[in-house]
C-alpha cells in the first residue's frame, strides 16, 4: 500500500502548487462543511460546482421525498450508521436540522427513497472530501492533467 502510494507519487511527481502541511486538512475540512468547496478552493471551480449541485440536489430531493435524518442511537447500530452517513452532507445537514426538516414520514410512499437519497448524499460527499485530500497532497492529478490545468488557468485569471 505504502509502495503503491510511493509509486503513484513518483509517477505524477509533486503537483505544481501542491499544498503542504495543514493544506490538505484545510481543503478537506472545507469540502466536509460545504460539498465541493474544497475543490473550488483548490482551483477546480467547475468540478466543485458539479459536486455542490449534485449533492445538494440529492439532499434536497431526499428531504422533499419525506426521508428521515436519523438520530444517533447507539442501541440501533444500523440507524447510527445511517445517521453518521447523513452527517456527511455538511452544511445541508446542519441547515435541515436547524430548520426542523428531515423528520421523516414512514407512511409516505417515497420515505425509503428519501432516506436513501439522504444517505447517498452524505456518503458521496465523504468520497469528494477524500478526493480533495488526494488533490491537495498531490496524490491525484498532475501538471498535464487537462481538467486541472483548464480550471487552474480559469482560476488564475
Amino acid at each position: 500500500m505504502v509502495e503503491a502510494r510511493a509509486g503513484a507519487s513518483a509517477r505524477h511527481g509533486p503537483r505544481a502548487g501542491s499544498r503542504e502541511g495543514w493544506g490538505p486538512l484545510l481543503y478537506s475540512g472545507l469540502g466536509l462543511m460545504v460539498p465541493g468547496l474544497g475543490h473550488m478552493a483548490l482551483g477546480r471551480r467547475g468540478t466543485g460546482a458539479v459536486f455542490l449541485v449534485s449533492i445538494g440536489l440529492l439532499f434536497v430531493s431526499g428531504i422533499r421525498m419525506e426521508g428521515e435524518l436519523f438520530p444517533f442511537e447507539a442501541a440501533a447500530p444500523l440507524t447510527l450508521l445511517a445517521g453518521l452517513a447523513e452527517v456527511g452532507s455538511g452544511a445541508f445537514y446542519v441547515a435541515a436540522r436547524m430548520l426542523g426538516l428531515g423528520t421523516g414520514n414512514p407512511e409516505a410512499p417515497t420515505y425509503e427513497y428519501g432516506y436513501a437519497f439522504l444517505i447517498v448524499a452524505g456518503l458521496l460527499n465523504m468520497l469528494v472530501v477524500l478526493d480533495a485530500w488526494d488533490i491537495a497532497t498531490g496524490a491525484k492529478g498532475s501538471a498535464d492533467d487537462p481538467a486541472s490545468t483548464d480550471e487552474a488557468r480559469s482560476a488564475a485569471r
Binding site: 467547475g46 468540478t47 458539479v50 459536486f51 449534485s54 449533492i55 440536489l57 440529492l58 430531493s61 421525498m65 410512499p109 417515497t110 427513497y113 436513501a116 437519497f117 447517498v120 458521496l124 468520497l127 469528494v128 478526493d131 492529478g141 492533467d145 487537462p146 481538467a147 486541472s148 483548464d150
Partner: protein, 56 residues
C-alpha cells in the same frame, strides 16, 4: 413520484459526481456520465424484468 422517476433522478444526480471523481477532462467526464446513467437505469430495469419473470 414513481419508482422509475426516482431511479432516473438518482442516476442523473449521482452519475456526474462519479464522473468528476473517476475521470479527468470534461470530454471523458461527459462520456462517463452518460455511460453511468445508462448503466444505472439499464441494470435496474433489467433486474426488474428478471424479478418479474422469475416471480411469475
Amino acid at each position: 413520484m414513481t419508482h422509475l422517476a426516482a431511479l432516473i433522478l438518482f442516476a442523473a444526480l449521482v452519475s456526474p459526481a462519479f464522473a468528476c471523481l473517476m475521470r479527468e477532462g470534461w470530454a471523458a467526464r461527459l462520456r462517463f456520465t452518460l455511460w453511468a446513467f445508462l448503466s444505472f437505469v439499464g441494470f435496474a430495469v433489467g433486474i426488474g424484468w428478471v424479478m418479474y419473470l422469475a416471480g411469475g
